[in-house]
């Protein structure tokens, strides 16, 4: 028995919305830049889940290929982001993003 025969698409939409909202809350809630990166990953995963669900329900493989590309971009983003984080820590001895408000100029 496959999931798409017994589970309505709305369940997936609601689950993805909840995960995405938790990600947004995490970005707003924490000051530690690493946790903020993790929340961004959470949001990307929520969107991935919805893409896979729509792909399965529409019987179209393009959605799953798109998820594959999203994962590639997320990996690249995290590599550069964590490098920036290490540089920031080296300069300020902290990963608190509120310190970065000196970029306001």
């Amino acid at each position: 028995m496959s999931a798409i025969n017994v589970i309505p698409i709305h369940w997936y939409i609601i689950l993805s919305s909840i995960l995405f909202s938790i990600g947004v809350t995490g970005v707003l809630f924490r000051r530690n830049a690493i946790i903020i990166f993790m929340s961004i990953e959470l949001m990307l995963n929520a969107v991935n889940l919805l893409l896979v669900a729509f792909s399965a329900y529409h019987n179209d493989a393009a959605g799953q290929v798109f998820v594959f590309f999203t994962m590639a971009v997320a990996a690249a983003e995290i590599a550069v982001g964590l490098a920036i984080l290490v540089v920031m820590y080296r300069n300020t001895k902290s990963t608190d993003i509120d310190i970065l408000n000196r970029l306001k100029g």
Binding site: I22, M38, A76, D96
Partner: protein, 164 residues
């Protein structure tokens, strides 16, 4: 049976996602995020997207989370000395997230159900995805390799010691 699996995995994903945001210790956050990724991979398997389930575990739970753990250990952040936002900002953050959730669910709930195609077992399998990836999406695939090269060069450039 399938509905129960969906609900259990969904609850697991949501609870561990909440723990990612609300635990104090960054290392625990990483571990809860790994749990979330495993739950999401389980949802992929329910949708018969087996290739993406495996890739999700390898790339996210394997590579990216190890990178996170590595940075946390390197910067020695595994203690709870993080400064916190004040109460009102936290409350505003939770309220904003809740409002976003209400708006998203409220908007999408009224959407018409999609006309469901007849279920095809092969959509998410490697053979089918590989054919689509290397015919229809060949150019984006190659461009993503350039993206990786750029990201790698960028990470090395940022990571190396400044030459004064």
């Amino acid at each position: 049976m399938t509905q129960y699996l969906f609900v259990i995995l969904g609850i697991l994903a949501v609870l561990s996602a909440l723990m990612v945001v609300f635990t104090k210790n960054p290392v625990h956050s990483v571990l809860y995020l790994v749990l979330t990724f495993f739950a999401i991979a389980g949802e992929y398997i329910l949708l018969n997207a087996q290739f993406l389930a495996i890739v999700n575990i390898i790339v996210y739970a394997g590579a990216i989370m190890v990178l996170f753990l590595f940075v946390i250990m390197l910067l020695n952040l595994n203690k709870e000395t993080e400064p916190h936002k004040n109460q009102w900002l936290k409350f505003a953050a939770v309220a904003a997230g809740g409002c976003l959730l209400i708006v998203l669910v409220g908007t999408l709930k009224g959407a018409d159900a999609i006309t469901q195609s007849p279920f095809n077992n092969n959509t998410g399998l490697i053979e089918n995805l590989g054919k689509v990836l290397f015919s229809q999406f060949l150019l984006p695939f190659e461009v993503s390799s350039i993206l990786f090269l750029a990201a790698m060069v960028g990470a090395v450039m940022l990571g190396k010691k400044e030459i004064k």
